[in-house]
Amino acid sequence: MSVIERATRKGAMALTAGTKAALFVIVIGAICRLLGPSVDWLVSWPDALVLPITEWVGLGVGWVLDVFKPIARFFSYLLNFPMSWASFVLGETPWPLVIGMVTALGWYLGGLRMALLGALGLGFVLLSGYWAEGMNTLALVAVSVPLALLSGLAIGVLAYEKPRVKNAVNVVLDVMQTVPTFAYLTPLLVLFGFGPVVGLIASAIYAAPPMARNVLLGLERVDDEVREAAVMSGATRRQQLFLVEIPSATTQIMVGVNQCLMAALSMVIIAAVIGGFDDIGWEVLLTMRKAQFGQSFLAGLVVVIFAIIIDRMSGKLAEPREKHSPKVVWSILAIAVASAIAFSLTGWNSSDVRAFDGVADAVDSGVGAFTASNGATLDALKNNAMFYGLLPLRIGLSDAVLPFTWGFKWTLTHTLMLYGVAVAIAGLLTWRGKPTAGLTTLIFVGMVEVGIAQLAWPFVLAGAGALGWVAGGQKLARFAVVLLVFILLTGLWERALLSLYLSGAAVFACAVVGGALGLWAAVSRTAWAILRPMCDLLQTIPLFVFLIPVLMFFQIGEFSAFLAICMYAVVPMIRYTRHGLVSAPEEIIEAARASGAGKWQEMFEIRGPYAAPTILLGLNQTILYAFAMLVIAALIGTTGLGQSIYLALGKADVGLGLTAGAAMAILALVADRLVQGFAEERRKALGL
């Protein structure tokens, strides 16, 4: 308690919001820590206070589903038509024609580079033997994307036209993006009936928000004068919107189209869990089940190729483009028709080729051989990470420090010593005028001593509330606390803490590693040349495929899940850090250089602070990615909310699925809002 006294004495001049919040958290934390061992309800929320929300949700949704089932069934009946047309067209068109058309489109959009990308990419798909499955996946995307685009456009325009509903719309979009798809697959299945339509709608739900957000952003960014010029030209509201504002926002909307395509593609794979369509996702799942890493990686690569082609080509749509000779387009198409005829005469069947099976098998056995020869190293790596990193974080030093791992037993003396050192550090920092940093250190030490999974709920609520208060004032604090209380009431608190621990550990690791890599990429061109394609690959490959090598090397368990999450979630951290550091305005940099700043001084004194809001946004993305991956990582075998969602999917338990999904979304949303609050504050401080 001496810290508080000293801090208050020193802070008598002026306690900053951060210091006050940290003090508050410490007081609550200290009370919980002291009383926790004797007062049970402080650590685990009493069962008597758990509301049967899961059942309520189950019943409520069940009732709603019954009401809307006929409409939904009719809708899926309607959707079946475009679905079967798309798969008929894509499936029955001879492959040379498809490749030819994509190549021609590539040429038209981006010249030789794009044409080559199309030809080589689809050539790879053809030779991999997954052509038919690939076309089925594309058919799914071809129907779900227009659906997502249209609804995204409608939502975006609605939010723009009716500012009153804008906040509500934003919340809905957040929910659509953060509730894991698996959580609502079952209700969708009941509602729309079995078949590809469910996957289609699931992917549309996931893919519509980026479109809506970009439409809204684009419309809001339309130059005021352009808007006014339309008004002064005597345009009606509808004419203004459709003739001027939407076309003016095209560039931003195209960014939305691009993101929408990518999201739909990634979700189509996940929706394959339901089945009903012989697509690439199903193929990935099948090979995953057999632990055929090479094959499943190969199938995953097919999706990556689609993603890259779609990404690059739709990305070109957003840029003004130069003209490419239409003659080339026609000649490419002519060649395609000719070879289509030639191949149909010879009766050559692409699915027999499977040219890369050898490679896949080699990769497969390579992974096996590597595991066999490095088993000891891999195990040591995993065990060390578990013993000295993840376990203490989860169950706290007091439980994780055991004689045969750390060499001694943790006793009360150790606890006291640890807190003593922490208090000393906090005191020192306070004395040097950084009370907030000191108190935060103390809080972190306390968290590691207790373990995230065993944190007392009042402490978590106080922490979230305090962070919210500092980042965005009372409103944000209330938002965070109310939502977390909801999790408490559902009885999913313990699982939520486990999820929090795993994603927290992963986010922390990503922040450190991703930040360092981003910094490296910012100072070295070569580094970025190496990192960039890796980032692209990691972001476009189906999430499932991450699990494969990780599982092989480290088997089932938290460490594997941790690694899989990190691999996926580190990407935005790298990208945003680099982008933030690189994009400091030239004038500021010149001013710094003129003042005689060296390379690293420039990096840390000028670029760093300038990049802070951008880096925080990267962190925000990393958090959202980590939560998204958490659900997938449950396939490796983690406890926590992800597992609950799978359990619910397996048992077709709509209530549990949606509630666990909501809990997951709440964690993600709260984290998202907190970080955004800090980013906003930094931005304002910099006057950006």
């Binding site: 130059d223 010029a229 339309a230 002064m232």
Partner: protein
């Protein structure tokens, strides 16, 4: 169509207020009880509201070029948006050709904009996705004109602003000056009676700015529109205006001809503006003419009523013989004709 009063001024603005914030109408109504304007404004600010335009009153006569001048944040852009009803004023009345446009419904407003009003914007406000022709023809399209008519009329106005040959270019391919020519052409496409120009030349380089000002004057000389022109540049205001309104903190502090503004500023604020203005260019001899005519006037340089001070000075100087010029040591090095001195100080007028 409502009745048009041919004797009415083109635009008349009475007691116009624009207050930003929440529940502004009630707040303003309550605040208006106060004695003077400053007190009203203070009441409003005290309630967290922003009075951007305070009790504006003025008239723009038919064919008059009326300039509203003020620094950024003085409320001039808000004022022009109230007149064109891009913003809904909080209180007051705006009549255009005698018609109260604040009472006009949506349909009437669209009608007015399609036929009677034109506007040019500071940053051009061009539609980025349309070609030059499509931009210029857009108001005609809104009128429902056929494509043929639109293209023909667009070509006509584009020629007027000197942009023939760039019809198919996109705004991003044009220079700033060219873009504003498109903006001007677009605002003239429907041949409006009332022309609003919101700092049309502020975003341009000085050289281009002057060129466009001159062309603007030329166009106005032929078209004789009733114009509200916004600028923050006193030199521009003095060069173009028939009359100038000076705004400060949302208030119109003085309305007058350029000469009145320069020579008889109502307060220090206006005086500060005209301090650096070469008065010789804007004031006429009448402004320094003596009341009583002296008996003995040996020289007559030929001064006439309406002559600027600069011109008058040059005329007087021309009566002098050349005078000597010495170096630092006092040695005679040359001679100067006083008439040349006056001419050198004068800026060329077009």
């Amino acid at each position: 169509m409502t009745s048009e009063n041919s004797t009415a001024p083109a635009i008349s603005v009475e007691g116009l207020w624009q207050v930003f914030g929440e529940n502004t109408q009630t707040a303003l109504r309550e605040a208006l009880d106060a004695v003077d304007q400053t007190a009203i404004a203070e009441t409003l600010v005290g309630r967290g509201l922003i009075p951007a335009v305070r009790d504006a009153n003025f008239e723009v006569r038919k064919g008059e070029l009326f300039v509203i001048m003020g620094l950024s944040g003085s409320g001039k852009s808000t004022l022009i948006r109230c007149i064109s009803r891009l913003l809904e004023p909080t209180a007051g009345a705006v009549h255009i050709d005698g018609e109260d446009i604040l009472q006009a419904d949506e349909k009437r407003l669209i009608d007015l904009r399609r036929n009677k009003l034109g506007m040019v914007f500071q940053h051009f406000g061009l539609f980025p996705h349309m070609t030059v022709t499509d931009n210029v023809a857009f108001p005609l399209k809104m009128q429902g004109a056929s494509k043929k008519v639109r293209v023909a009329r667009a070509a006509e106005v584009l020629e007027m602003v000197g942009l023939e040959g760039r019809e198919d270019a996109y705004p991003r391919q044009l220079s700033g000056g060219q873009r504003q020519r498109v903006g001007i052409a677009r605002s003239l496409a429907v041949n409006p009676d009332i022309w609003f120009l919101d700092e049309p030349f502020s975003a341009l380089d000085p050289l281009i700015r002057r060129q466009l000002q001159d062309e603007f004057l030329h166009i106005q000389a032929t078209l004789k529109k009733s114009i509200v022109f916004i600028t923050h540049d006193i030199a521009e205001a003095l060069k173009l205006a028939d009359r100038i309104a000076i705004m400060k903190d949302g208030e119109i502090v003085q309305i007058g001809t350029p000469e009145e503004i320069v020579l008889r500023p109502v307060n220090d604020y206006v005086a500060e503006f005209s301090k650096d203005v070469p008065k010789g260019r804007h004031a006429c001899v009448e402004s320094v003419m003596l009341e009583a005519i002296p008996e003995n006037m040996p020289d007559d340089p030929g001064l006439r009523v309406g002559m600027t001070l600069d011109m008058a000075l040059a005329k007087c100087m021309s009566l002098y013989e050349p005078v000597p010029v010495h170096d630092a040591a006092g040695k005679l090095v040359g001679a100067v004709n006083p008439a040349d001195l006056a001419a050198a100080l004068q800026v060329d007028e077009v």
